[in-house]
């Protein structure tokens, strides 16, 4: 009779201690592609399916990387050469879709998102995976590049052809390609039946579904200090993209030069420290984060409205956090004593 109560008690005790639940198993993998580290998280009860999903993402990203790489020999560099020579390029429907989206986004951003300034970006030395510290380009060269004013407005696009009336147009889709690639990868995941995943390419991500019975929690890194400045819980299918002055840069003579070139000035944009955007479509979020970063503290609300973005957080040079009302509702600040400015919204 003694063993009976003993085992009951033991079971009860064990039952109680098992009360801290194990979190659902997320399969994580890291890939090196798109010129950066890509983090894929897949939530699926079957480990083999999850691994297969990662492979799908890897393959899709590799395809896009090889097609649209701005400086290694690729179909894109070929296009750039032909456009420089004033030739009309024949394109397929995939490229058409890609270019059309880029063109629309550029127009909506008043050409602040300008993927046609490849030569300017190259001038600044950012057409290498790794830019050594060295002198910035001389201002005459910058002025010359600016004068040529290449933009997506110079492009004539049809279903099968692409032409430019400005030989200075050189495509560099750095501000858009990653988002586009993530969109494609996520579509492939959905086709494969994956409903809960995050594809994070160098810090910019799109998350679908949720982590079991709680949403995916995204931490937004502080632009200056270590740690997280804010957190977001994604809802359904959403992309979170941030453009900042700390991502790719070089230092010279005590000054920092980062890779987001303002197409109006020819110099790295300096009216903000970072911009974070939430939007369904990753390509849009990507272009918008760049455009709004360039727009800076004063112009960003207008550009955001034009681009159809209503969840924006911009961190100004004085560390003031500017937000749209919708962003203020979603985002949770993880720091104390933040100076916050929520702009007027129209509901």
């Amino acid at each position: 009779m003694k063993p009976r109560w003993l085992s009951l008690l033991l079971i009860a005790t064990l039952g109680l201690t098992a009360c801290s639940e194990a979190p659902p198993q997320v399969h994580k993998a890291k890939l090196f592609t798109l010129g950066t580290l890509v983090d894929v998280s897949v939530l699926h009860p079957n480990e083999a399916t999850a691994q297969q999903a990662v492979k799908i993402v890897e393959d899709e990203l590799a395809i896009i990387n090889s097609q649209w790489h701005a400086w290694r020999d690729s179909p894109l560099t070929l296009i750039n050469q032909q456009l420089a020579q004033g030739k009309t390029v024949t394109i397929n429907s995939v490229s058409h879709h890609f270019l059309q989206q880029a063109q629309t986004l550029a127009a909506n951003s008043n050409q602040l998102f300008n993927p046609a300034i490849g030569s300017l970006v190259s001038l600044w030395g950012f057409h290498h995976d790794d830019r050594p510290d060295g002198a910035p380009p001389v201002k005459e060269k910058i002025a010359a590049a600016l004068k040529q004013a290449p933009s997506m407005a110079n492009i004539t696009l049809t279903e099968t052809t692409l032409a430019s009336n400005n030989p200075a147009v050189q495509f560099d889709f750095g501000a858009f390609g990653k988002g586009y690639a993530i969109d494609r990868a996520v579509e492939q995941l959905k086709l494969a039946g994956i409903e809960n995943a995050i594809v994070n390419a160098g810090g910019d991500l799109r998350a679908i579904g949720a982590k079991g019975d709680r949403p995916w929690r995204i931490g937004v890194r502080h632009p200056i200090e270590a740690g997280v400045i804010a957190s977001i819980e994604t809802n359904g299918d959403e992309s979170v993209f941030t453009s900042g002055n700390y991502e790719r840069f070089f230092d010279f003579d005590g000054k920092r030069y980062h890779h987001i070139i303002n197409p109006r000035s020819g110099y790295p944009a300096n009216d903000a420290i970072s911009v974070t955007v939430i939007h369904n479509n990753a390509a849009t979020a990507d272009a918008a984060a760049t455009a709004l970063f360039i727009a800076g503290e004063t112009e960003w609300p207008q550009i955001a409205k034009q681009m159809g973005i209503d969840e924006v957080m911009l961190i100004g040079n004085d560390l003031t956090i500017h937000m749209t009302p919708k962003m203020a509702q979603r985002i949770q600040l993880e720091i104390d004593d933040a100076q916050v400015n929520i702009i007027a919204g129209d509901s």
Partner: protein
């Protein structure tokens, strides 16, 4: 002491180690970091100071662990982004030397965030 008393004591003696193992292992009482070199990942505790030399695709990166923090101190890349990232301390913090294919991620108990946007 009765027979039942001995059973009770036995039960307690079995329960205690079970609780310790159950609640205290799995993640160290301290934080660790995952160092990824190409496709291999090694986990290392941040509890003890170390200087590590990791051979990556380009050459040797030197990673230092001190006072529960970790950072790149030297790397064969040109841009030195990895070094610019500074000391990593909290779970989720991350630095990578992409040209050398080496990355460092700080691990915690249950990571607060599923992904970091930057």
């Amino acid at each position: 002491m009765t027979r039942a008393d001995y059973c009770a004591v036995l039960f307690a003696t079995l329960l205690l180690p079970y609780l310790y193992i159950n609640q205290w292992t799995g993640d160290e009482a301290g934080i660790s970091a995952a160092i990824m070199n190409g496709s291999e990942t090694t986990e290392i505790s941040l509890a003890h100071d170390h200087t590590l030399e990791i051979n990556g695709a380009l050459g040797t990166s030197i990673i230092k662990i001190e006072d529960g923090k970790i950072r790149f101190v030297a790397s064969p890349c040109l841009g030195k982004q990895c070094i610019h990232s500074g000391w990593l301390e909290h779970a989720g913090e991350f630095a990578a030397c992409l040209p050398n294919r080496i990355s460092v991620a700080v691990l915690g108990e249950e990571p607060r965030f599923d992904s970091i946007n930057f």
